[in-house]
Symmetry: C2
Subunit: 394 residues, 2 copies
């Protein structure tokens, strides 16, 4: 199976030799701290490393078993229903499917809209019951579609959220994976730590299998998150965090980042070239960073049909509907270009194109009506349907 | 600080050299699986190792980031309030404080009673609204008091739970840490996997800092737990689990268990001897295994006063009230004998005895009324008050 479906780095993107060396050093140099329970706040030297890199105090940092767990803790802290009243979470459209699943398992209401452009009525309406609300956004190289909020969109989001007193959770694991050009300021730099809880991870840049993510937030919120972490998993894996710390201490983050960026840029370019050639009926934006291409299919081809046909051809894609709460995305699929090396990307696109030819109803109709072969040439090039263009406003 | 307060193994009980070797091997021999995201079910070779050791299928095993996270997932699965109806959790009296804190953060009702002896009315009362209930128990070398349910108590618990259709979560991390004599069958062997969700851990036997626990349950429940794990933390740390697997593969679990048992037995004996000598006013049962001694104080000395005085003397203890939901435990403290090596246990008891002399109101009264010194000899040996005997029915 060639897997474009999961947002993971392929094994060859992971510096196994460097991590093995770090694991050896973490096992011996600071063994008591590596193998003991430690603190729910995380491995202190890594806390301090992250704090120094971002220019904050270590008290503003919590190191977690992955970013997803951090988002869940932050949602519970900001709008959690411990007292029985359920809060509301505004999420971007589209947004990260795993967070949607985490939210669905919580006593919160989820509202989805294009955060930098649309907004719902403020929650602090005079005379109405107060609703606790927080905002969840992946502003940079968004999962699933790779979109990045422009500066005015970021400012609008923060301004609207500030007006109603809603805190913002910024999930930002792809921020440092920009292929080239200047970075936009993350939300927490624009809005400050009073407003923004910043979540990130080493999963997309160093290694996912260690499960090390982190939160940067104001110290009061970090204290609340530490207490919640403690009653959720006691402490995170000190050893995993000690390995990451040792790895960063030995080689820094810049070299691995640069290597990852170069590789990802090459894969993104390859994928886009091949898609243009072999799936000309689909549209997409060329990503500027991150892990994903968001493919918009013609109106004659749904994502679920394509995904099923692709599966038969030995390639996995993620249908767009998983990233949307109330329908939509039926003609979109997410392709991750990080999970497979170039030769398999090429083979994957060949398979995907074959699956698309097989699954496209217009081509199938053509075949049924007796036109020869069902090849793209025979069927003509289907136009991108209005439905596909509108399938997702983002 | 000498720490009797936390249920952790001291650093010298951890086989750092063996774990370092395992970490090296896990980094190189199976690097892709160790450093990749892997499966929410856990590192497959470790799943299979646990399954083989317990004679179940790997499909009945979930490997988690620690046992605490496993208990939380199991509670949510069995009585979770996703649909808005809160279930009930029956817990033992006393019980593990961290689980009480995890339950307090969930939309469930907690009822605490001596599980093997008392029982509340069945939840399936004819004509009454059905309540989902599950039972949480640490049947062997219970945290906090080291008590072990006798076989008739186990049978009674399972029978009562079966009568009302309640599933039982058996939290069993100390089961293999019996100093000598034959083990009692765990609840899941008596009641079967239809009734019992068995949770355990390598934290108390191999190393806490890796955070590797596990669940044994029927396959349908395991599937539910895997889905919940996935939306909670995506996947656990594959690397941490690969290190544990490699460690077990290289040396087995029996040798580390035997070493741990021998050390713990020696520490327990030392602690009990010194307590008898230096705190004769307190009572306790000699533990047969596990990590804990539960100290019952005289009526003239509360746990909170003792804990505060002990802190000033440089020793930490856990007051009993943390292990009880609705009061009680005011004259009990939990002492962990695993967390400190013998020389520090001896010094810790000296400090604790000094703190007790200082904090005991009867002795303080004696001092105030002019008796010389406030020493134990001068004050006489206070009797264990009825209040202390009754403070905790367990």
């Amino acid at each position: 199976m060639i897997n474009f479906g999961r947002g993971v780095p392929s094994a060859d993107l992971i510096d196994v030799a460097g991590l093995a060396q770090a694991a050896g050093a973490a096992s011996t140099a600071n063994a008591d701290a590596s193998f003991g329970y430690g603190s729910p706040a995380g491995y202190q030297p890594l806390r301090e490393w992250i704090a120094a890199r971002h220019g904050v105090d270590a008290g503003s940092v919590l190191v977690t078993p992955g970013a997803m767990q951090a988002v869940a803790l932050a949602v519970d802290l900001l709008v959690g229903g411990e007292d029985g009243t359920a809060g509301e979470v505004l999420v971007d459209r589209p947004t990260y499917d795993m967070v949607l699943r985490a939210l669905a398992a919580r006593p919160v209401t989820v509202r989805q809209l294009a955060l930098g452009r649309e907004w719902v009525e403020p929650v602090a309406v005079p005379g109405a019951a107060a609703v606790r609300r927080c905002v969840y956004a992946v502003p940079t190289f968004r999962n699933p579609d790779g979109a990045t909020m422009a500066l005015p969109e970021r400012e609008l989001l923060l301004e609207r959220a500030a007006l109603e007193g809603s805190a913002v959770i910024e999930d930002d694991p792809y921020q440092e994976l920009r292929f080239d050009g200047p970075a936009l300021p993350p939300l927490w730099r624009l809005g400050g730590l009073e407003q923004v809880v910043h979540v990130s991870s080493f999963s997309k840049t160093v290694c996912p299998g260690l499960r090390v993510g982190y939160v940067i937030a104001d110290e009061t919120r970090i204290e609340g998150l530490i207490a919640a972490a403690n009653r959720t998993y006691i402490t995170p894996s000190m050893f995993a965090q000690a390995v990451v710390h040792r790895y960063l201490l030995d080689g820094g983050l810049d070299a691995p980042l640069q290597r990852m960026r170069t590789e990802l840029a090459a894969r993104a370019e390859l994928l886009c070239e091949l898609l243009s050639e072999q799936l000309p009926q689909a549209r997409f934006e060329r990503p500027q960073g991150g892990y994903f291409v968001w493919l918009r299919l013609p109106s004659t081809l749904t994502a679920s049909t394509l995904a099923a046909a692709a599966q038969r051809h030995g390639v996995v894609v993620a249908p767009g509907s998983g990233f949307l709460v109330d329908g939509g995305g039926e003609h979109c699929v997410r392709l991750c270009f990080a999970a497979e090396p170039p030769n398999r990307i090429a083979e994957g696109v060949r398979r995907l194109a074959a699956a698309a030819r097989e699954a496209d109803t217009r081509e199938a109709d053509t075949r049924e009506s007796g036109a020869p072969g069902g090849s793209q040439q025979a069927a003509g090039r289907p136009q991108l349907g209005e439905e596909a263009v509108l399938a997702d406003p983002a």
